[in-house]
């Protein structure tokens, strides 16, 4: 087991340019910004503030949405009293709704008599469902909140929006329209008096008038990029030597409604060698502006980014501006693959996939990849839900170490992600995610030059993540074409298999028939009678079918399960077709022998094996995850690995296959030795350098939010609440439940034969007390180890940084400002 290292190394925080060769793979202009000269800036035009006041006419629309009594205009304020712990006042904006800009900060000036927190969410609908929002809010705390200072004085509560989650307006960008309805929770105490004097919305343009031009993380339509922000007629110039096949990879955007012209200029001793320009007339979206600089290869030039507009001070955003060098390999890993793609399928069980022996044809493309590459038969997720398992995988650290364990937790800046390592080595880095846990909400955009959040997808079913990888693959393919000649790392996280299970046509009817469908619908109808909170858009919105619930309703579970299997399998098939398009494109681009494609899942799904649906329990149906690695020329076709490994081993493995060192913080071990036939042929004697040794594997399933700790909120979520740790070692799995909901009748410790009983059906703890003891000991040692290795809080990790560096990190959204 790797030991934690102290002090934590902030290598990737520094965003340093990579090592000194004459021929860089990439020159990122945002990283070089400190060395650029900025000239010609105009003072920004003042922006009219957006303030809602209650002292004049006409006052904004307002209503008592929930748990508020006596709401009235009084003394120029909106006054009222709370009658519940989740009171909501709704304020409706009528003007400025077509503002394309997005919200930066909301300031609420108010006086509140009691309570601990004031919070806000936004919505755009005419009549947002306050009841549903409050119900969700008990499960997922509002990210936009501030501690209250109760008393007689008016206070100004400034809540930075940044990249924070506004889960209750999922999909809607917080632009003019997305902030049409402001839902304020003035207090979290019943019986509090409150007066709201004003609400100020500070949009990005207004905020920008207060800060200098420079680098930051900026998003349009939920597509975030490392960005250089400039103002017309500013010019940012770099003196640099261009590599041998240079092109400028940049996307541009503006929040202005009038045309803004972006110009890229190359000059030498004042003489213009090259100029290319592009005018944007549509606000609020990124447009690619690749610029071929091949004619200037090898020259020492002054490269300038210039902005022009009839409106002085107009803002222009230069997204991830990088001079890339076609054909160049990273100096750090000249023999590594040119392209690396990590494809993460959310909620996918291996036992529904063809390479793992499933009889249905759910995954012909994956089967082909496994046959041409390596199939890992026993990979274990380190947690059973995305929020926790993905950071673990992407940073090779246990959840107890990286501390992303609940809904609103964010990965500490001190963690080094896979993307950061590839970025530093010179790879172009792109993330596409269909699950909002995988994005800036969890600080998982670290290291990505471009990151497309889940909300950038058109939701296909209610407000759940996209049911189809199609839209993401549609975006990925042209990006791959554009980056076909440079090193790239792509992380694509898709949610096809996630509930709600029914996929798009024709996959909804790929398996099953009308009879199955009818039995399912009748069964659900009966189940709804006993679980009125059940909604088809799936948990955690409310009460999924459990064995107990179905029994109460008199429904034969198979009537529900069969249809779920049919749809789940159809979803997998739909996803597999998209995976096929990626592989087809890699082959068309001639990259087949120069890529590393990894297919993995973050966790599985329960189909009543332990009484529940969704993915709540730590048993095999959730913790067993598929893993296939395809790298023709690097991995022998048909490689099969049967050893038990864990998802946090993936990062060191991918890095080793790429010729890059794993960060010292990594807690996983590379299993490259298991992938190379040379190692296997050497009679079991492993390569001294890359030894792989069997190690215990750990997983955890802890409360998703403070609200669900302890007895929590029975009925809203599920009958099945169980918080647990597990360890697998030597073919046995021990589960330790630290919380067991009343009535489940489950012992604190359970032991399973992991090899013969991969879904953890038969508890053999009673027969094997000494085995239980040994594994308990392992769990205890591991917890101590994982806790000791905890990353420092951002404040501590960054205390020795220079102010400029600190400013940069907070601009990029890695740490709080």
């Amino acid at each position: 087991m790797t030991k934690p290292t102290a002090p934590v190394i902030l290598c990737c925080l520094a965003l340093a340019a990579c090592g000194g060769t004459n021929e860089p793979t990439v020159i990122r202009l945002q990283d070089e910004f400190a060395n650029a000269t900025v000239a010609g800036g105009a003072p920004p035009e003042p922006v009219d503030p957006t303030v809602l006041r209650f002292d004049g006419q006409p006052a904004p629309g307002y209503s008592a949405a929930l748990g508020v009594a006596d709401l009235r205009l009084e003394n120029g304020s909106l006054a009222g009293a709370t009658t519940a712990e989740f009171p909501i006042v709704q304020v409706t904006r009528a003007e400025g709704l077509d503002n394309p800009d997005i919200l930066h900060t909301i300031e609420i000036r108010a006086r509140v008599s009691a309570g601990a927190n004031i919070g806000v969410v936004f919505a755009s609908a005419d009549a947002p469902n306050a009841q549903a929002i409050a119900m969700q809010g008990t499960l997922i705390p509002w990210a936009l909140s501030s501690p209250l200072l109760p008393g007689d004085e008016f206070q100004t509560y400034a809540i930075p929006v940044g990249t924070a989650l506004n889960a209750h307006a999922a999909g809607a960008e917080l632009n003019g329209y997305g902030t049409r309805q402001i839902l304020i929770r003035p207090s979290d105490a019943a019986g509090a008096e409150f007066e709201i004097e004003s609400i100020q919305l500070i949009f990005r343009r207004e905020y920008m008038t207060t800060v200098p031009s420079g680098i930051s993380w900026q998003a349009f339509d939920h597509r975030g990029k490392e960005t250089i922000v400039t103002r017309a007629p500013e010019r940012v110039s770099y003196d640099l030597t261009l590599p041998s096949t240079p092109w400028l990879d940049v996307a541009i955007a503006t929040a202005e409604r009038l045309p803004v012209t972006f110009r890229v200029l190359a000059t030498q001793s004042g003489e213009t060698l090259f100029s290319s320009e592009r005018t944007l007339t549509t606000a609020g979206r990124w447009e690619p502006m690749p610029v071929d600089l091949a004619d200037l290869a090898g020259q020492r030039v002054t490269l300038s980014l210039e902005l022009e507009s009839e409106q002085p001070g107009a803002l222009g955003f230069w997204g991830a501006p990088a001079i890339r060098n076609s054909g160049a390999r990273p100096a750090a890993s000249p023999d590594g693959p040119q392209g690396v793609i990590l494809f993460v399928a959310d909620t996918l069980r291996p036992d529904h996939l063809m390479p793992y022996g499933y009889p249905r044809e759910t995954s012909p493309n994956l089967e082909r990849l496994a046959a041409e590459g390596a199939l890992m038969l026993d990979n274990q997720a380190n947690s059973t839900w995305t929020k926790v398992s993905v950071p673990s995988m992407l940073s090779s650290t246990y959840p107890r170490t990286n501390q992303v364990q609940q809904m609103l937790d964010r990965l500490p800046a001190a963690a080094t992600t896979l993307a950061e390592v590839y970025r530093e080595a010179g790879y172009a880095t792109l993330g596409l995610s269909a699950n909002w846990f995988v994005g800036s909400a969890t600080n998982l955009h670290q290291g990505f030059e471009d990151f497309e959040e889940a909300a950038a997808l058109d939701d296909e079913v209610g407000d759940t993540p996209s049911k189809s990888a199609r839209a993401q693959v549609d975006r990925l393919l042209p990006w791959l074409e554009q980056h076909r000649d440079v090193p790239f790392f792509v992380n694509i996280h898709v949610t096809d298999p996630h509930s709600p299970f029914m996929p798009q046509a024709p996959y909804d009817a790929y398996w099953g028939d009308a009879g199955t469908r009818r039995r399912y619908e009748e069964g659900i109808e009966k189940f709804r009678q006993v679980r009125p909170t059940f909604v088809e858009v799936g948990p955690p919105a409310g009460g999924e079918p459990t064995t107990v619930g179905l029994r109460e309703a008199g429904v034969n579970p198979i009537d529900i399960l069969q249809q779920h299997y049919d749809w789940y399998d159809g979803s997998i098939r739909a996803m597999d077709a998209e995976l096929g398009r990626i592989v087809e494109t890699l082959e068309r681009l001639g990259l087949r022998d120069d890529v590393l494609l990894v297919f993995v899942s973050d966790h599985g799904e329960e189909f009543l094996e332990h009484g529940g649906h969704f993915h709540r329990q730590i048993y095999g149906e959730n913790s067993n995850v598929p893993l296939v690695i395809w790298a023709p020329g690097r991995i022998e076709p048909g490689t099969v690995v049967s050893e038990t490994i864990q998802s946090l081993d993936l990062m060191p493995t991918m890095l080793e296959l790429s010729g890059l060192p794993a960060p010292e913080t990594a807690q996983g071990q590379s299993f490259v030795p298991l992938l190379t036939s040379r190692e296997r042929l050497a009679g079991g004697i492993a390569h001294a350098q890359g030894t792989w040794r069997p190690a215990p594997v750990f997983s955890e399933r802890m409360p998703e939010s403070p609200a669900t700790e302890g007895p929590g909120l029975p009925g809203i979520v599920t009958d099945m609440r169980l918080y647990s740790y597990s360890v697998i070692d030597g073919g046995h799995k021990l589960v330790h439940h630290v919380f067991i909901a009343d009535g489940l009748g489950i012992p604190e410790y359970q032991l399973f034969d992991h090899v013969a009983d991969p879904l953890d059906q038969d508890d053999i703890a009673a027969e094997n007390p000494e085995l239980v003891e040994r594994l308990k000991q392992l769990l205890g040692d591991w917890q101590e180890y994982a806790d000791a290795a905890r990353f420092p809080e951002d404040g501590i990790a960054t205390e020795n940084l220079e102010p400029a560096e600190l400013q940069r990190l907070c601009s990029l959204g890695y740490i709080a400002c």
């Binding site: 409604r257 005018t279 077709a577 096929g580």
Partner: protein, 814 residues
């Protein structure tokens, strides 16, 4: 007073005898089969020579959707309105009309959740009068009186002439021509069996053919196929078919191709080539979503000049999956060497709908509405007095695209189609080897008028996300043209962009809606509008009938000034928004290094009225509608700063563009090229100007024919003609509906009174006389040249050619 000289007015007269079907033939003119110039080989044009293997037989039949009155179920019927009797007799729905808008309502009760789109409707019926039979479809139950009111402004698109008969006839309506009609919208069927009183009719059956059924019924081959409102000349194949083409490639070839499918499961498109015994897969692309085109360009440069076999293959999980190969063309990157000397790499025709010349700063308007156009005019040519031939898009645009007067091209009413015998600008460029693309946000400029003729790719209004077939912004089109230009930068290309920014409703989007005017002017407008509304004046729908007329203001004693001023504030803003998009287009041309190698023409199809003659919209033949802007920009080809003050007409544009491009002008063209006016004076050694293509001033004609939709009054109630000769403009009102007060002749000083405000007819009888004679002579000429009816054309074609033309949607399939 002599009549005008035909020979000078119409320098390119139609050749005697049968109309030329050059463009219809879609054929090559010499060289390799299919080589249309520049070495381009369009695979759809050589499909007849292709070999198709691997067919697994035509797909299983799909159950037809048919309504019969002989006892079958699945529908209900009722008498809507305007019927004296309606009942089922002898298995037919029979009745008599009692109004000019009689309506029979049929509601389909079964099979309405099908996700397909309608292809066509076939009605078997008999009517006792020579009249028109129409159909309207809706998802919601129809409101009969609302339908009648709507008909006064807009006719039903599914309508056709019927002849009195004793026997049941079959009438086929090509619904697909009107854009995508989802099956859900076919629940309620309204039939207007006649547009007159006292007609007897019998309906035997109504049959709906949906796209899947239609496609299952057609053989693989060429067709005009649309996905999400974007249409291509298409080769249709079915898995696992393989179409093979024997080709000799041009010097630096690439395959320009888009692929798409209607299937929901993945379909893989594969392009394979065999050369000197080797077979190589050049491209493979899997389409996993229906109803979207994906670009699939393939580089063939390594095979330049070689003779090869090229296969288009389809692969899918199941047999008979449909694949569309959109506009598959082998193009040549070496345009300069392959084409005629001086041929431009690209030609762009930019048509602004409803744009008055006098609201452009380019023409001296005090507001800066068009800085980009001003720059283009300064670097190119400004035509100070161009005239449209009609006052609405449906009629005026075909004139621009065919160089024919409306009376000759015969597109006069909402539902008219341009006859396939017309040769369009696109056809001329297509035949010369240009890649042809059209984007329109007005349905009149697409397949609904047969104006897709000659375009390999057309973006119909239905392709706009705003929906409704109309966009207040050129933006989405410019967004699409930019990457298309990048892909086709080597040329040659011809692009038609028809945008509707200036069209009513007037308010544009931010910030252009507030670029002129202020809160006060908007408040004044709102105030007047609400007073008008309270008084029940005007429908405010933006349609032909919907805007308040001068009488409405007078009746309420309201000064229309502030109202009109705010409309103009918005109108001006829309123009500025459009101008910014033209700027992006020009910027792209410059970025792609094409500015010395393109011809860019900017024109409007007609203007707009702001109560100059008592009405809004574009309803009358006077100057506010007929004066249109015209700017040409072609650095290196046109002398910078050229200003043409002679009166030109829209039909002159086509011969001018073609001449500038070195492409032959069709013999039928009625306009005259003014190319000679765009050049610096080219003096021969004697000092005498070049005589070869001398341009001479000629009279200019505009026309307006009523289209009453079988209602009274219709939106365009008058018949009138106008001629401009020298400084005079004469309007001859030929038909004036009852209750409207117009003199028979109106004469205006065109030079000094361009908006036709002061009638000088009484003082100048001899001018009236002379000009009215010009109109009569011209009319006789235009009618004599009239294109033959489609039926006549069909009779002259061989069956294979006919099949091809109907597959491409140029003519209705017999």
């Amino acid at each position: 007073m002599s009549s005008f000289d035909h020979a000078h007015t119409f320098p390119r007269k139609l050749a005697a005898g049968a109309p030329l079907l050059a463009a219809l033939a879609l054929s090559a003119c010499g060289g390799e089969p299919g080589d249309a110039g520049f070495g381009v080989i369009r695979l759809q044009d050589v499909f007849d020579d292709a070999e198709v293997t691997g067919s697994s037989g035509v797909a299983a039949g799909i159950a037809p959707t048919e309504i019969r009155f002989d006892g079958s179920g699945g529908f209900e019927w009722e008498a809507g309105r305007g019927l004296a009797a309606l009942d089922v007799e002898n298995g037919r729905l029979a009745g008599t009309t009692s109004d000019i808008v009689p309506l029979v309502h049929i509601e389909r009760t079964g099979d309405v959740d099908n996700r397909d789109a309608l292809h066509s409707i076939e009605i078997r019926a008999r009517v006792s009068a020579d009249t028109r039979l129409g159909i309207s479809l809706s998802e919601q139950p129809p409101n009969y009186e609302a339908q009648v009111a709507r008909l006064r402004a807009l006719p039903w698109p599914l309508i056709q002439d019927v002849t009195a008969a004793d026997e049941i006839q079959t009438y086929t309506f090509l619904a697909e021509q009107q854009g995508r009609i989802p099956a859900a919208s076919t629940r309620h069927i309204l039939i207007r069996p006649a547009d007159e009183v006292g007609a007897e009719f019998e309906i035997e059956s109504v049959r709906l053919t949906f796209l899947q059924e239609h496609l299952a019924s057609i053989p693989s081959g060429i067709g005009w196929q649309g996905l999400a409102g974007v249409y291509h000349e298409t080769i249709i194949t079915r898995s696992p078919e393989r179409a093979s083409f024997a080709l000799t490639l041009p010097e630096d070839p690439w395959l320009d191709l888009s692929v798409g499918t209607l299937e929901q499961s993945p379909v893989t498109f594969r392009v394979t080539v065999a050369h000197e015994g080797h077979e190589v897969v050049l491209g493979e692309q899997t389409v996993s979503a229906p109803d979207i085109w994906q670009a699939m360009p393939i580089d063939l440069s390594e095979l330049g000049g070689e003779t090869i076999t090229l296969w288009l293959e389809l692969d899918a999980d199941r047999d008979n999956a449909l694949g569309f190969w959109g506009s598959p063309a082998v193009r040549n990157r070496l345009v300069a060497q392959a084409g005629p000397a001086d041929a431009p790499r690209g030609v762009i025709l930019f048509v602004a709908d409803t744009l008055r010349r006098d609201k452009l700063s380019t023409y001296g308007y005090e507001r800066e509405t068009s800085p980009v156009l001003t720059r283009l005019a300064a670097e190119g040519a400004l035509v100070q007095d161009a005239q449209a031939h009609a006052i609405w898009t449906k009629v005026s645009v075909p004139s621009i695209h065919t160089s024919l007067y409306p009376r000759t091209h015969t597109v006069q009413r909402f539902f008219d189609l341009l006859p396939p015998t017309a040769t369009t600008l696109a056809e001329a460029y297509r035949e010369a080897g240009y890649a042809t693309l059209s984007l329109t946000s007005n349905a009149f400029v697409g397949r609904a008028t047969n104006l897709h003729q000659g375009f390999e790719e057309v973006h119909e209004p239905a392709s706009l996300s705003e929906g409704g077939g109309f966009s207040k912004s050129a933006r989405p089109f410019v967004d699409r043209v930019i990457p298309w230009l990048e892909a086709h930068r080597d040329g040659p290309f011809f692009i038609n962009i028809h945008v509707t920014d200036p069209h009513s409703p007037y308010p544009g989007y931010e910030p252009y809606d507030t670029m002129w005017g202020d809160d006060e002017s908007r408040a004044a407008y709102q105030d007047i509008q609400s007073r008008l509304r309270q008084a029940g004046a005007g429908g405010f729908g933006g349609g032909p009938d919907g805007e308040p007329r001068t009488e409405s203001f007078e009746a309420l004693d309201i000064d229309p000034g502030p109202y009109v001023q705010q409309e103009i504030n918005w109108y001006d803003g829309s123009i500025r928004a459009m101008d910014a998009e033209i700027g992006r287009l020009i910027e792209t041309i410059e970025r792609l290094d094409l500015s010395e190698d393109v011809i860019f023409a900017f024109i409007s199809d007609h203007g707009e009225e702001f109560l100059e003659h008592g009405s809004h919209f574009h309803l009358q033949i006077y100057g506010p509608n007929s004066n249109v802007p015209l700017v040409l920009w072609a650095p290196g080809r046109i002398e910078a700063g050229t200003v043409i003050s002679d009166t030109l007409q829209s039909i002159d544009l086509m011969p001018t563009m073609l001449e500038l491009s070195g492409v032959p002008v069709p013999a039928a063209a009625q306009g005259q090229s003014f190319e000679s006016l765009l050049q610096p004076p080219r003096l021969a050694s004697s000092g005498v100007a070049y005589a070869q293509s001398a341009w001479r001033p000629v009279p200019v004609f505009t026309e307006q024919l009523r289209d009453d939709n079988g209602t009274e009054p219709g939106p365009f109630p008058r018949d009138a003609y106008a001629v401009i000769d020298g400084d005079w403009k004469l309007v001859h009102n030929v038909y004036i509906p009852e209750g409207m007060d117009y003199p028979q002749y109106e004469l205006f000083d065109h030079a000094n009174d361009p908006l036709d405000q002061v009638d000088l007819a009484a003082e100048n009888p001899e001018v009236v006389e002379r000009l009215s004679q010009l109109i009569d002579d011209w009319l006789a000429y235009a009618l004599a040249e009239q294109l033959p009816a489609v039926q006549t054309t069909i009779e002259t074609l061989d069956p294979a050619e006919l099949r091809r033309l109907c597959a491409l949607g140029y003519i209705a399939c017999p």
